[in-house]
């Protein structure tokens, strides 16, 4: 049985049944602290920037250009980018294009299972303002209402060269210590969660997927 915390600072987990409540933790997410010595934090940021492992989850159209990115012509591996099959081992979530409501629920689940520091790259114009599905009843229009985004790469569809440029931009941001999407998520957790629950009507998972 997971040890559950006391009454303060816990989550409701209203979507779970009574027996499932015993299986999931109801602790709130925690922000990760930077290292107290600046040199160590810079070294850690350099290490994180040069080993960005992407979660292999093609959420939409944008996934079609992720495959050529890994081949020898554009070669994302030289930046330390590799595709991982599980969120536990990855640090970057690439939102490939539009997010339908059904996929958004799985994106949230996978994102929360990733370990911090974690970053989100939004590909394409659809996460920015809905793109060409701006009037669709099943795709979200502003992705950063639901999860914090660190980098937008616009286009439809963005070419692999643009993706490489975006990765380099993300690396610069991480090394400068300005990539704090995961901490923003924790600090504004209630706001994000309220937005998510507004669109996802069948919330049958814990409030935070550890």
């Amino acid at each position: 049985m997971i040890k559950t915390l006391g009454t303060e600072d816990t989550l409701e987990n209203a979507g779970l049944s009574a027996e499932e409540q015993q299986l999931f933790s109801n602790a709130r997410p925690r922000a990760y602290e930077p290292y107290p010595i600046k040199a160590v934090e810079d070294f850690a940021n350099w290490a994180r920037a040069n080993s960005l492992w992407i979660l292999a989850f093609g959420t939409g159209c944008g996934a079609i250009e992720l495959r050529p990115l890994m081949t020898a012509r554009f070669d994302a591996n030289r930046f330390g980018v590799a595709g991982r099959p599980t969120p536990r081992q990855s640090s970057v979530f690439v939102i490939g294009g539009y997010a339908s409501v059904k996929t958004l629920k799985r994106i949230i689940r996978s994102y929360e299972q990733m370990q911090g520091p974690k970053f989100v790259i939004a590909l394409g114009i659809c996460p920015v303002n809905g793109g060409m599905y701006f009037d669709s009843y099943n795709t979200v229009n502003r992705f950063d209402q639901y999860l914090p985004v660190d980098l937008y790469i616009t286009g439809c569809m963005p070419r692999p060269e643009v993706l490489v440029a975006g990765i380099m931009e993300l690396q610069k941001k991480i090394k400068a210590g300005r990539c704090d999407g995961a901490n923003r998520y924790v600090e504004n957790f209630d706001w994000y969660k309220a937005n998510q629950k507004k669109v996802i009507k069948n919330w049958d998972m814990p409030d935070y997927n550890w």
């Binding site: 959420t59 939409g60 081949t71 020898a72 996929t103 599905y133 795709t139």
Partner: protein, 389 residues
């Protein structure tokens, strides 16, 4: 690993009894949308008895954008920019079918040069799609050399697309009335060179992949489709041709320039995953030969777009039509109904994966090993975006 149907598919449509999950004998797994063993974004709810699957339910809808509703809100000329995104890995067929349906309903005649350019564009799209599929099929069985080869070589074909149309993936080249532009200078030499390289690559792939002991052992006997399953399940394309049925829309009901091109319908006699894969390899070679024929015979001058009415005020008389084309997966169809206004009344997109990925997959998955499920899914060549549009 082997799969037996046991009874005639034509008679048994009843859904099987769900297994008793609380008995402690079975394991329920979700091979969900975030999984490297799924083509695209759909999920399988599997119930396992040891290593063998005894029940499979498919879940789609992760890519549902409501295209048919969106198309009703846009005018005829605005729609062609949207349709290519319905089937993400193979967009050109949507553009062609939409344009063809609109032209049929409004009585526009496409000039000769545009017909040949459209044919070449579609065959190049088939080639690129088959290359990606070959990589997917061998990758599903753990052989990662071949996907790296084919995905890398496919980039050259995407370069050709970029020269021809301006974009790698979503071309928006085939418009109602014709095509958007002619071929640039020097395109023919570059295209021929890339076709030569593709042939050499396919020979190498045949040696590395199809003569490989492990690939043969894993794919032979996997996912057998019997001929009496084909019509009740609506199986089309290479999946049906591998059972021996000679059904190819390019030959049976020719469209574009296919009645003037020289090719045969390829059929196979091994309806398992290996047979289907080999048939698709042969169809890739056929696509290369068709592209070469188009390069030889396409007219190099003349108009590439018909005279169109004022597209901003375009009203098409009431009518309905159904057009279809042979894409890499089979029969792709557009059903369009107009009612005399500026907006289309109803467009229904019939993707081949609609039946392959849901009814056929649930049928074939029963009895396979959990390790082979990814291979089985890829061998049916399903693309989830066209299921839920």
């Amino acid at each position: 690993m082997t799969q037996s149907t046991g009874h005639s598919a034509a008679l048994d449509f009843a859904q099987p009894e769900p297994p008793d999950l609380s008995s402690g004998k079975y394991v329920k797994l979700w091979q969900g949308p975030q999984h490297p063993g799924i083509t695209g974004n759909m999920s399988l709810e599997l119930v396992l008895d040891g290593d063998t699957i005894i029940a499979c339910k498919t879940h789609v809808g992760y890519l549902h954008r409501g295209f048919e509703k969106l198309m009703e809100r846009r005018t005829f000329i605005q729609n062609f920019t949207v349709v290519c995104r319905i089937a993400v890995p193979e967009p050109t067929f949507n553009e062609y079918l939409y344009s063809h349906a609109v032209e049929e309903l409004s009585g526009i005649e496409v000039p000769e040069r545009a017909v040949w350019l459209r044919t070449m564009n579609l065959e190049m799209m088939r080639l690129a799609s088959f290359l990606m599929w070959i990589g997917g099929q061998s990758g599903a069985f753990g052989q990662y050399t071949v996907p790296n080869w084919t995905l890398a070589y496919r980039d050259y074909v995407l370069d050709l697309f970029e020269e021809m149309t301006g974009a790698r993936i979503y071309h928006m080249y085939i418009v109602p009335g014709g095509v958007r532009a002619g071929l640039p200078d020097g395109f023919e030499e570059r295209a021929r060179e890339i076709m030569k390289g593709a042939e050499k690559l396919l020979d190498q792939i045949e040696r590395v992949m199809f003569h490989n002991v492990v690939f043969k052992a894993r794919s032979k006997g996997l996912g057998i489709i019997t001929p009496d399953m084909v019509d009740p399940y609506g199986i089309v394309g290479p999946n049906a041709r591998a059972c021996g049925l000679a059904r190819d829309i390019r030959k049976d009901e020719p469209y574009l320039a296919y009645d003037r091109l020289d090719f045969d319908t390829i059929t196979g006699n091994e309806p398992d995953a290996y047979g289907r894969a080999y048939l698709r390899l042969q169809e890739t070679r056929q696509s290369i030969s068709l592209i070469r024929q188009c390069l030889d015979r396409a007219p190099t001058d003349g108009p590439f777009q018909a005279d169109m009415p004022n597209v901003l005020h375009w009203k098409i008389p009431a009518g309905e039509t159904y057009v279809k084309a042979e894409c890499t997966r089979g029969e792709y169809g557009y059903y369009m109904v107009t009612d005399g206004t500026e907006f289309v009344r109803r467009v229904h997109v019939r993707g081949p994966s609609y039946t392959h990925a849901i009814a056929v997959m649930e049928r074939l998955a029963v009895g396979t090993n959990i390790a082979d499920i990814a291979g089985l899914m890829v061998s049916l060549h399903t693309y989830p975006p066209e299921i839920e549009r």
